[in-house]
Amino acid sequence: MGAAMIDGPKSMIGSYDYSLVALSVLIAIFASYAALELAARTTAAAKRVRLLWLSGGAISMGVGIWSMHYIGMQAFRLPVPVLYDWPTVLLSLIAAIFASGVALFVVSRKEMGWPQAASGGAIMGGGIATMHYTGMAAMRLPAMCSYDPWLLALSVVLAIVISLAAVWLTFRLREERSASFLWRAGTAIVMGAAIPVMHYTGMAAARFAPSSIPPQMAHAVSTSTLGITGVSAVTLLVLSVAVLTSSFDRRFSLEKLEAENRFRGLLEAAPDAMVAVDRHGKIVFVNAQTKKLFGYERGELLGRQIEILMPARFRGVHVGHRARFVSEPRARAMGAGLELLGMHKNGREFPIEISLSPLQTRDGLVVTSAIRDISQRKALEEDLRAKAEALDAASDAILVADVDERITYWNRSAERIYGWEKSEAIGKVPYDLLRTEFPVLFEEIAKRRAEGGWQGELIHTKRDGTKITVASRWTTLEDHNGKPLGWLEINTDISERKRSEEGLRVLSGQLLHLQDEERRRIARELHDSAGQTLAALSMNLGPLESEDGRIGPIAAKAIKESLSLISGLSRELRTISHLLHPPLLDEVGLASALRTFLEGFTERSNIQVTLEISDDFGRLPRDLETAVFRIVQEALTNVHRHSGSATAKVRITRRGTQLLVEVADRGKGIRPEKQKAMESGAKLGVGIRGMGERVRQLGGNLNITSGGQGTVIVVKLPVVSASSIGA
């Protein structure tokens, strides 16, 4: 065999199938592009997945180089059949993958200087060369293969130099985040060129001399066209997957980057101070607001422990809290229910509120805290509490209801007065809860309330069922735009006052009654006793008058004068007695008694009085009849004394259970200032006061209206027992 080699120095001429050469170059470039993409991903990836990306890149690149080689070999036609020893082929593949892996590792490092680039390039170039010559060694053919040493050396040098250039370019490319496709493609072409340039230089170095020595065919396989097609297809598929995966990841991480930037922007603009710390409590981010709140410049905080922002006495405890949070991170408010304090650079402490949110980033766990100064809110709460306490201290029941008429506030005195707890009252409708009895329609109160306020007396029912009278003041509550928010109601329990007033009324009622009784008695006395005596006197003297001639003229004159005096006295007595007690009132009733009285009144005062009262008016309870009689009597006395009117009109009507008494005159009226004084109750004459007292006694009301054309007194009285005995 050796002899044949020596004897037959004539080399075999190989030829190239150029379409396959083109395919091999294409695959090399494609493989480089994929490797570049994956290298970029490797750098961007988090630690855990970095090895994955690196392996993927190494396999793509390795398979690419390897298949470039064998397609290149297929393109090389020799006049003898060529087989390959498959274990050696496998070895060449491993060399290719290993070399690619080392190269990718180098370019994916965070920092790269000349030494790294040089060693990376050397290993890459060396790997490619190793792969090539290992692949050559796998050839099994009936020929001797020898190499031109110069060209062999050149092929290795070219492999290393071009790889070096490719590694450097790749590294530079990585810096340019937004490197264009063209840039990447250019780099891929340079890198892709390293492989075929090395390959075809190496092929040029090879000399094949026919040999009769049969080659070691133990593990030899042929590279059929079908095989090459398969290799190309698989290679392209592997590379496509690599490129697609990596570009998808690129887009994804670009979005993530943008999202992160947006997030940072948001943090920066947040109204709260935002402070982010890493898992060791070191501050990694602060926003603009942080300076306002804590007084530190950004540079003073970055890299410091978060504990710098809190009072010293809390720092130790906080480290423990922090560690626990890191071990079980979840978004939450901090120290629920606890008083949290922050500390300004100047040492001032202030209450804060913090919410925490953990964030897994490429650099590990980052905990972001939003910190808010709540001094103002605290002060406000304090103020509100103080006010609420003041309201609680008030002895009046104070409640607030919203626009839906639901109670929203109920003070302590309201609890005490009504017996309803705050928790029971809140949300209820006030007038349902208190079973309010309104003196007027609720609509009227609501209207007045809307106009600013209402006040008056209400009757409320307590929880235990007892009724109380309250003096109630209602005020509308509005927001700063004037929109109604509800109303504030302040209720003073005046039941006690009411009771004493009631007592007073009973007392004065009794007095009036006694007075009436006394007057009746005196009237009767005058009539029965003094009147009878006078009548007797008159009867005794009467006969003497006719004895004119028998007694002396002096005596006769005295008797005449005495009789005249007796007559006057008895008339006066009758008038007094009538004034003291209406004659016949008890016997013949109000209408008749009034008519009799009015005749006497007109006679005395010269005022024409018209009485309007129905003939079948019927009888009323004695107290009521007396009261009406006295009211008319008093009113007419006033007309006579003050009005200067020549006429007066008395009208008494009964409508259902209501009795109306009107006394009107056409006099000069009551002077406005006097009227005002009367309304305030300050300057009431005894007469009017007495009248008012009677009316009140009977549960009615009295109204005096006066103007330039006269005065009218209107009295409304309820008829309690509707007795209607015919006159």
Partner: protein, 89 residues
């Protein structure tokens, strides 16, 4: 009292703080034979109402001091069947 037509004996009370309208109304109604009482405010109206017992009241709604609706309310309390004409403008 000027009676330009034959008096029919019926009494109308006119109330208005604006005297021109009041006198026009008085003249017109009197020419139809009514006896017309006039008041320029609520209190006077109530006094006249009680003392003169008109059969009809013509009331101006808007008056200073005591508004027409309150005057009407008081009158209705005393005579529920009283016809009242309320002038709104």
């Amino acid at each position: 009292m000027t009676v330009s037509a034959k008096s029919n004996g019926r009494v109308i009370l006119c109330v208005d703080d604006e005297t021109t309208g009041l006198s026009v109304r008085k003249t017109l109604l009197e020419s139809q034979g009514y006896r017309v009482l006039t008041a320029e405010n609520g209190p006077d109206a109530l006094v006249l109402f009680s003392s003169e017992d008109p059969e009809l009241v013509i009331l101006d709604y808007s008056m200073p001091g005591m508004n027409g609706d309150i005057v009407a309310e008081r009158m209705k309390e005393l005579r529920s069947d009283l016809p009242i004409i309320m002038l709104s403008a």
